[in-house]
Amino acid sequence: MSEAMQTDPYAGERLKESPFHPRQAALNLREAWSSWNGYRFAEYYYDPEYEYFCIRNGCGTYDICPMQKYRISGADAAAMLDRMVTRDVHKLAIDRVTYVVWCNDEGRVVDDGTIFRLGEQEYMLTCGSPCLAWIRKAAYGYEQVTVEDVSDEIAALSFQGPTTCAVLKRMGLEGIETLKPFGIRRFPFQGGELMVSRTGFTGDLGYELWIEKDRGLAMWDALYAAGEPYQIQPYGEEATNMARLEAGFIMPDMEFAEALKTVHFEHDQTPFELDLGWLVDFKKPHFNGRRALLEEKERGTRYTLTKLDIEGNKPAESSWIYRDRDCTKQIGYVTSAMWSPAAKANIALAMIETEYLDGPIWAWIDYEKELRQYGKVARCTVSKRAFWAPPRARATPPPDC
C-alpha cells in the first residue's frame, strides 16, 4: 500500500472514541451510533425501550465521557464560580455536588450542569456542551484561578437504576450504601482512585463513576463482572431522554436554547422560564444576570416550563398548546413528550405563557397511524411534581442494599 493510501485525509474529522468504546462497540448490536461533542456515541445498543426498563427496574450504564468537564482551582475558584452561577457556591461543602445554571449578563441561560467540590480550593464543573470560552471569560479579572478542560482525561460512566447500589457493593465499594445523594466518595481501585458521586440524570437511584482514562476499561470490566447477575446493560441517548423526561429534567436543544448560540432576540430562556427559579439565589448580592433576573422576577415571567399530564396515549411531540378546545388562542408549545411507562401517563414538558397556566390547557396532537396522518385535541393537566421520583432515589441507605 502506498503511503498516501495509509494516511487518512479526514483524520481530524473522525469521531473520537471514549475509553469504554471497545466494550460498548461489542455491545452495540444495532450499530446505532450518533455523536456527542465529537465522540462516537450510542443512540441505543439493542432497543431503547429495553434499555429504559433496565434503568427503571435493574441497572444500566451510560457513557458520559463526552460530557464536558472543567477543573477550576485556586484561591479565587469559589468566588469566580459563585459569580458565574445563580446558586450560592460558598455553601457547597467538600465532597458535595450541586446542580447549577449560569446565565449571560441578560439573565438568559448559557447552560446547566453540576459543580463538584473536590477540595478546599478545587472544583469540577460539568456540562453538556463545550463552555470553556465562557468559563474563561467568567474567570477574567480573578488572579488566582486556573481553568483546565479535563474532558478527555477522565473516563466517566453514569450507572443508574434501583440495583446500582447492590452492584457497586458487590464490586467491592465498601460503605457505598451510606453515600448520600449529591455526595462524593473515593475508593482505591487497582492502584488508582475511583471517585463515585451519587448523581445522575434519570431521577432514580444512581451513581456516576469517575476515573483516570487509562483505568476506564478495567473499571468497566469490574463493574460489568459485579453487575452480571443483575443483567447490567449499557443504555444510549434515547433511553436517557425517556428517563430524564419522566424526572422532569431539561435538555439543551429541547427545553432550552443555549443563550450564547441563539440568534433571535429572546429565543433563549431564563431560569424562571425553565421553572428553575429555585436555583436563583437573590440572597447573593451579585451573580451574573442578577439584575436582569430581578427585573424579570418583579415583572413576571412570560413563559413557564410546565409538566403536563395529557389525556389519551398519543405523545404530544411538537404540539401547539391552546387556551381553548377550538384551538383559537395559542399559548405555548411542547418541548418534549412521551408515553411514560413508569408513570403510566401521557406526559410532556411545555413552554406555556405564565398568565394562562391557571386556566384550561389543550394540546393539538398530530400523530400517525400506518402512514396516515391524524390529529386530535387533548385536555392537559398541569402536574406540579415530577412524573417519576421514587423514594429510593433519595433514601440512604437505598433499599435492598
Binding site: 471569560k137 467568567a138 477574567y140 479579572g141 480573578y142 451579585h286
Partner: protein, 507 residues
Amino acid sequence: MRDFDTIVIGAGHNGLVCATQLARAGQRVLVLEAHGEAGGLARAREFHKGFKAPVAPSSHHFSPTVARALGLEQHGLKLAPPAPFTALAGDGTAPRVVRGETLAGASVEDAAAWPEFRARLQRFADALEPSWHKTMPRIAKGPVKSLLPLGQVGLRLRRLGKEDMREFLRVFSLPMRDLVDEHFEDEALKALLAWDGLIGSRMAPRSPNNAVLMMLYRMASQSHCAGTSLIHALGSAASAAGVTLETNAPVAKILVAADSKGQQAAGVRLASGEEISAEQVISSADPQTTFVKLLGVQHLEVGFSNRIGRLRCNGLVAKLNIALDGEPNFDGLESAQGRLLFAPSLDAIEFAFDASKYGEYSEQPVLEACVPTLETPELAPAGQHVLSAHVMFAPHALRAGWDEAAKADLAARALAVMERSAPGLREQMLGHELLSPVDLEQHYGVTGGHWHHTEFALDQALMMRPTYEAAQYESPVAGLWLCGAGCHPAGDLTGMAGYNAAQEVLA
C-alpha cells in the same frame, strides 16, 4: 471611620473638576491622590536636578464651559489664544506655522487652499462642540429625551446647509491623509495639518477611523494654557469650594456594601489600610484600573468585565524631557513658542507607525515638542530651559522590552531628529529622561500609559466609551461613577469628562 458624601479617586484635572463641581453643589468631597501632588499627567515632575516637566505640558482646548462653571479665571487661569504650531521639516526649508486662522510659510497654492479648508473644518468642529459636553444616550434603554444630544448634533450639522452636511458625512471617517491630500501639496504642511488627528492614538495618516473626529474634537474651543497653571487654578478652585485633597493616599480597593438587596459602592480602602466611607465613589482612574483592580470583577457582569478587559489601552507615546543650558534655537524661528512638529512628511509619520505595529519603535521617530519654560520659567533654574517632547509610536508592548538601553536609544534617535532643525541642541543638553509608556503606567497609574486612558476610536467613542453600560459616567454598581479620560468625550486637558460626570451625579 471618616465619612464623606463623595470620594473622588485621583487628583488629575478631571478628578479636580468633578470634585469641585460637587463641592460647589454642597457635597462634602474627598479627593484621594496616590502621588505627593495633584495634577495627574499635568503634574510637573523633576527629571533632572532642578528641572521639572509635566507629561502634558499644555492644554490646547480646555473647555471654556468648564472654566466658566468653576470660575477658574478667579483662580488665575488664563485661556490664551491658540499657540503657534510649527512644522520643522529639518531640510533647511522655512517653518510652516499654523496659528488659529493664520498659516505662514506655505506655498502660494497651499496658502490659497487654507482659508476655506480651515473655515469648513472649524464649522464642523463648532457644530460638534456641544456634544462633547453632553451625556451620551444609553443604547436601547432610557427615555426618548436621552436621545436629544444626538438629535441636536444632527440638527446642528443639518443647519450647516446641504453642502457642508454632505461634506461632513463624506470626510468624518476619512484617513487624515486622504483629507489633506485633497487640498494641499507640501508634505511638511500636510504632516502638520494631519498631526492633531493622530497624536495619542493608535492611528497614522492612512488609518481610517476617527482621526478626523479627533481633530475636530481638538479644534473646538481652541485656546492655550500651561498644564501646570491649569492644575494650579483647579487646585485653588477645589480648595475654595471646600474639597478635601489628600495626597500620598493611594486607593487599594473600592469598598462595596453587599447584601441580599444588592450592591452599593460604600467607600474606599487606602493602601495604608484606612477605610473611608462615602455615599458615592467617583473614579478618574482609567476603566481597567477602576473596574478590574480597584473594584474587582466579582461585582460585575461577565460580559461587561470582558468588554472592559478588551479595551485597547496600550499607549504609543513616550515622553522625552531634556534639560537645556539655555534657550534652544530652531532654524528659521525667532523663538520656540508653541508646539513644534518634527515630522517632515505624512510618509514619515506612517513609517514610524509601521514599526510600532510590530512591537518596535522607528529608527526615525516623529515627535511634537515644546519649551514649557518659555511661559513657566520656574520649571528650570534661571536662564535654563526644558524641552518636552511627545515621541510618537513608541509601543507599550515593545517586543524587546523597555530597558534602559532601549530608552537611551529612542532618546538618541529623537534627539537626532530634532537636531536637523536645531543644530546646537546636543551641546545645550544637561540631562534628559525618557518615559516609555511602561514608565508612564508606573508613575501615573494609567493602564498602558495611554494618553486617553483607552484608545479613542469609533468603537470606543460616544455611547460606546468606555463601553455601553458605563458610558453615562454611572457604572453598573450603584454609587460608583467614572469621570476620567476613559469616558466620553476622551482625553487631553479639557475637563469635560470630569464636568459631565459631575452633572450626571447631580442630576
